[in-house]
Point group: C2
Chain length 381, copies 2
């Protein structure tokens, strides 16, 4: 093929570190494969001379052994390959190679040209603390459940949780718009219940409905929730697409904190050899896409995640990413003194404890159970 | 907790078969876990008496051994748990349990109440054949590449491919809206090139741009592509969300065939123990979401997929799903007589052969190479 014209690229590059499984020869082949597959998707010997081979094809910047049959490579890409879009950035980072085994995205290093495209979390940790007026201790969040209860019963739960001092009262992530609990009936009822309880308690608890919806209804639900008095919004980006969360986060008229739920995203993180690292998915990606807080399972509970992976998420939520605000890690599960102490060790003071069904246990008194857990957090663990 | 009111459910249920890794005891525990985790997400002993436990919690309908430490369970769910939405249907099928290892969705059995919610492929195999006016042989598709070329150069490729008789000329999936190849310049140029070539050849080749875009730009790009003369649209649901594809497919004003690209979805299918089966992801889900044709890597190429998995996809694209039209499997890679013969064996006559970089090889003459491959297909393999 003929020589291609000069591309006039800026020279700025972003880089991604991948871990690669296999022996050295296999890992080197994978590294090279990423450089081509994620950009030109074209055999090396057919690439036209000139800028495409020099600038568009990814470049392996470093390669090292990190374990037995385990290597790490840093690959840089011209920022222009990603255009100005989160969708295309993800496509370059992990589009086609998601289909190949033994390649895992560990971390992205994004220059200002890319970070500046994404406002990131609108509220972040400080903003969300302001909303619920809690500045010293970790926040606490619980869920209205189980699926099958109606709006009235869930609103009564919401009232008790708010009176008990729970900061964020969210819909269970399985509540959508079912006939036994219609969205447009549930949201005003629960929001009203929390508002009333706040008036009684003097606190600033918020109701956070699940607005996950078909593509044509997502914004409508967000707006309806806001009008009904929701204090934040729960969204499942694995179902809506990550970019839909980014769009809501950048919506000045909406202007509500967004909290991401990990449903349907598990396949990206359940393998040690493939997919995305916890750091990248729950930390970097969710922040790029504007989550003010990121729900994930705390280790030791009913999900498979290690203490080290939780620690990674904590770092990913707070590590410097240009001007992007830090987001709250929201570990789910664990309401013993010991587990809360360990969360302090992992995340510092800035996390949101998510308690589900266990808050219903003890003596069955939701108000008293809520007070118990808030007291425990106020006691410093 | 008190007894819950009567839920007045229809009694209709959908069911999902999961394969489970582990010994019998572990697999039984996983089966039970799915029933609770995917619905009430609540400890069994705290479920209120009445309809929630009886109707909302999933029900294991059958359980059997399918291999060493490998079991299969059919679990049924009340159709009402999924509301009327693809997002929530996916949430019930694989939301939270995606985060647990050793659970894989094999197949869904959906009753009319659910299938009727989704029009599915608008064109399907027969409709797409009509668009390109090819009724007897498999169709053939290729991609404009490599990334880094400008609109003019890609339009020239498109012209040669169309003159050579390639039915569908698509953007490479890495072409988005980059400064070196802006969407709004590329699409009219390539569409025009194909139109001109058709006038010359008397054929009905189509140009299929990649409209994958941020959530707020997706429909705009689709409409722009249609106005520019695109004959079909390429979309990457792993980046936009599956439901965004469904929405475009149901758009009567748009009325163009949609072809899905598997980028970023690989993590769902690279593990034998976790995630989604090829049958479910590339067959059932893509059809529910309205893809008229589904791209995936053919086995033996540069991706990891087995012949049996390809065969699964072929079945998933065509197996009866209520009134949903069959969709085209689009295996990527392989332009030897032998590989094409094997595609016939796997998919019958109704597939679309996708050839990428290899079409540029042979003698470097795109027009002649295109004719060569079309002739091979017309010869019956």
């Amino acid at each position: 093929m003929k020589k291609t014209p000069h591309l006039s690229l800026s020279g700025a590059r972003f880089s991604v570190s991948y871990s690669l499984s296999g022996n050295k020869k296999e890992a080197l082949a994978k590294a090279k494969d990423i450089c081509y597959e994620q950009t030109v998707e074209f055999p090396e010997d057919l690439i036209p001379e000139g800028d495409i081979g020099k600038e568009i094809v990814g470049q392996a910047e470093s390669f090292k052994k990190i374990g037995v049959n385990h290597y790490q490579v840093h690959i840089s890409f011209a920022v222009e390959t990603a255009g100005t879009e989160l969708t295309q950035l993800l496509n370059v980072i992990f589009g086609n190679i998601s289909l190949k085994p033994g390649i895992k995205v560990e971390k992205a290093e994004l220059p200002a040209q890319i970070l500046n495209l994404f406002p990131g979390p609108r509220f972040g940790q400080a903003g969300l603390r302001k909303v619920v007026q809690v500045h010293q201790r970790p926040l606490v969040c619980t869920a209205l459940k189980p699926m099958g209860l109606g709006p009235k019963e869930l609103a009564e739960q919401a009232r008790l949780f708010a009176l008990g001092g729970i900061d964020i009262i969210k819909d269970d992530h399985g509540l959508a718009d079912q006939p036994f609990c219609p969205f447009k009936e549930r949201i005003p009822r629960c929001a009203e219940a929390v508002r009333k309880a706040n008036r009684q308690s003097g606190k600033s608890s918020i109701y956070m409905p699940n607005i996950t919806a078909p593509a044509d209804l997502l914004r409508e639900r967000a707006v309806f929730a806001k009008k009904s008095g929701a204090g934040a919004l729960l969204i499942i980006p694995g179902l809506t697409g990550l970019d839909s969360m980014r769009l809501l986060a950048s919506d000045h008229n909406l202007n509500l904190p967004l909290v991401s739920h990990p449903a349907f995203l598990g396949s990206f993180v359940t393998s040690r050899q493939n997919g995305l690292s916890h750091y990248f998915l729950y930390g970097q990606l969710m922040r790029l896409a504007g989550a003010d807080a990121v729900i994930f399972p705390h280790y030791g509970g009913r999900f498979s995640i290690s203490r080290e992976e939780c620690s990674e998420i904590g770092r990913g939520c707070g590590d410097r990413m240009g001007e992007l605000k830090p987001t709250f890690p929201v570990p789910g599960g664990g309401m013993t003194r010991k587990s809360i102490e360990d969360m302090h060790a992992l995340y510092g003071r800035d996390f949101i404890l998510l308690i589900g069904g266990e808050l219903h246990r003890r003596n069955g008194d939701l108000l008293e159970n809520s007070r118990f857990i808030v007291n425990m957090l106020e006691g410093g663990g």
